[in-house]
C-alpha cells in the first residue's frame, strides 16, 4: 500500500487558482480513477502529485517523503505521449539509462517489458511507425520499466479504438494486480466503473468527492458529480 498525502496544496497559473486548496490522505491500492470535466484540473493534479510540478502552497508526500524525491519510483503515461526518435526498445529503455542500467541487464528488462505490453515483434521498429494504440502501450512500457510503486495514467485511451482500449485496460489491470498503485485520469465511465477500486472527482481544481467506486456510481454525494454522471458539464 502506498500513502499519498496532500496538505493544503494549491497551484496558480495566469493569475488564477487552477488547483486547490486540496487536503487529502489516500492509501492507494489497485486502480484509482481520477474523473472530472475537461479543464477541471486532472492533468495538473496528476503532475503535482507525481512531483513534476511543485505546488505554490502546501506539500505533497508519498509514504512520508516529499513528492520531489524519488520520482523514478513513479511512472507516468502522459496525455501527449513523447515518441522519442529511436526504436521502440530504446524508447522503453530510456528510464533505465537515466538510472545507469545498461548492457545485457537493460536488454533483459526491456525484453520482459516489451512482452508485457505486447510489442516484442516491434522492438526494433522506429517508434514513429507505431499505431496510436501501440504508441500508448510503448509509453506504458516506458512508465513501468523501472518497476514503479505508482503508475500515473493521463487519459491514455482518449483517442484509441475499442480493441486498443480493451488491451490497454487489461495490461494496466494486470500491473495493478501485481501491486502497483495506479492513478488513472479518464473520461470513460465504463473504464472507471469496471477497472477502478476508488474514484476521485475533481471539479474547478478541487476534489469534490473521494469514494469507493461502487459508492461513487450508486450514490454520489456532491452535486457536480451527480450533474456529471447525468451527462451535464
Amino acid at each position: 500500500m502506498t500513502r499519498l498525502v496532500l496538505e493544503q496544496v494549491s497551484f496558480s497559473a495566469g493569475g488564477k487558482t487552477r488547483l486547490g486548496p486540496i487536503s487529502l490522505t489516500l492509501d492507494l491500492t489497485g486502480i484509482t480513477a481520477v474523473l472530472g470535466p475537461n479543464g477541471a484540473g486532472k492533468t495538473l493534479f496528476l503532475n503535482v502529485c507525481h512531483g513534476l510540478l511543485t505546488p505554490e502552497a502546501g506539500a505533497v508526500s508519498w509514504n512520508d517523503k516529499p513528492a520531489a524525491e524519488g520520482r523514478r519510483r513513479r511512472g507516468f503515461v502522459f496525455q501527449n505521449t513523447a515518441v522519442m526518435r529511436r526504436s521502440v526498445a530504446d524508447n522503453i529503455a530510456f528510464p533505465l539509462a537515466a538510472m545507469g542500467i545498461r548492457g545485457e541487464r537493460q536488454r533483459e528488462i526491456v525484453s520482459r517489458v516489451l512482452a508485457r505490453v505486447q510489442l516484442l515483434d516491434r522492438a526494433h521498429d522506429p517508434a514513429a511507425a507505431l499505431s496510436g494504440g501501440e504508441r500508448q502501450r510503448m509509453a506504458l512500457g516506458r512508465a513501468i520499466v523501472a518497476e514503479p510503486e505508482v503508475l500515473f495514467l493521463d487519459e491514455p485511451s482518449a483517442n484509441l479504438d475499442p480493441a486498443s482500449t480493451a488491451l490497454l485496460e487489461s495490461i494496466v489491470s494486470d500491473i495493478a494486480n501485481d501491486g502497483v498503485a495506479v492513478l488513472w485520469a479518464t473520461h470513460d465511465m465504463k473504464q472507471a466503473r469496471t477497472r477502478s477500486r476508488h474514484v476521485l472527482f475533481i471539479d474547478n481544481g478541487r476534489i469534490v468527492e473521494s469514494a469507493r467506486t461502487g459508492d461513487f456510481f450508486s450514490s454520489p454525494e456532491a452535486e457536480p458529480v451527480r450533474t456529471y454522471l447525468n451527462g451535464g458539464v
Partner: protein, 232 residues
Amino acid sequence: MQVFSEAWRLIAEWNADLVMIVALSLRVSLTATVIASLLAVPVGAAVAIWAFPGRRVVVVAATSLMALPPVVVGLFVYLLLSRSGPLGAFGLLFTPSAMIIAQSILIFPIVVALTREAVLPLEREYRLLVLSVDASPWLHIRTLVWDARFAVVTAVLAGFGRALAEVGAVIIVGGNINGVTRIMTTTIALETSKGNLELALALGLILIAIALILNGITHAVVNMGRKYQMSR
C-alpha cells in the same frame, strides 16, 4: 573552350599544385567545422533546453551572427593574432591555424542557431518525460542531441559548406601564401585576377563538385531521419 579543356586536364592529371590546394582547403575547413561543432552543438542544445539569464541575448546574437561578414571576422582575427595583438606571441598569423580560427568563428553561430532550431521542438515534446525519470543534465542534453541527430548533422554540414566557400576572412588572416595558406577560394580569386583561368576554373569545378556532394549527403541524412519523424 580552351580554358575548360586545360582546367579538365589539370584535374585529370591530378596536378600536384591542385591537389595540395584542395587538400589544405579540406584540412582547414574540416578542422574548423569539427572545432566549431564540438562547441556549438552543446551550446545550441543548452539554449533550447534551459532558461538562464542572457539566453535571449545568445539566441539573438547567434541568429544575427549567421550573416556575419567574413571580412569583418578576418579583420577581428587579424587584430587578435597580429604581432601587437593579445595573441600575437603565438605567431599564428598567416598560418593555416589562423584560417581555422577565422572559419571556426564564422561557423559557430550557424551551428548554434540550427542546432537550437532542431532541438527546440523535441525539448517541448520530451520535457515532462525527461523530468519524470530524473535524468541528469548530461543525459538530458545527450538525449535531445541524439534524437535530433539528423538535423544536427545537417547543421554541421551547412557549417562545413560555409567554411569551404569562404574567402574574405581567410585571405586576410592567411595571406594567400603559395604552398602555405593558399586554399581553393583564395587561389581562385588570385589566379583569376592574374588571368590564369585554367587553375581557377579547375578549382572552381572541384568546389562545385564538393558542394554537390555535400548537398547529396545532406539530402541522404534528411531522408534517413524521415522514418523516425512523427506523423501525428
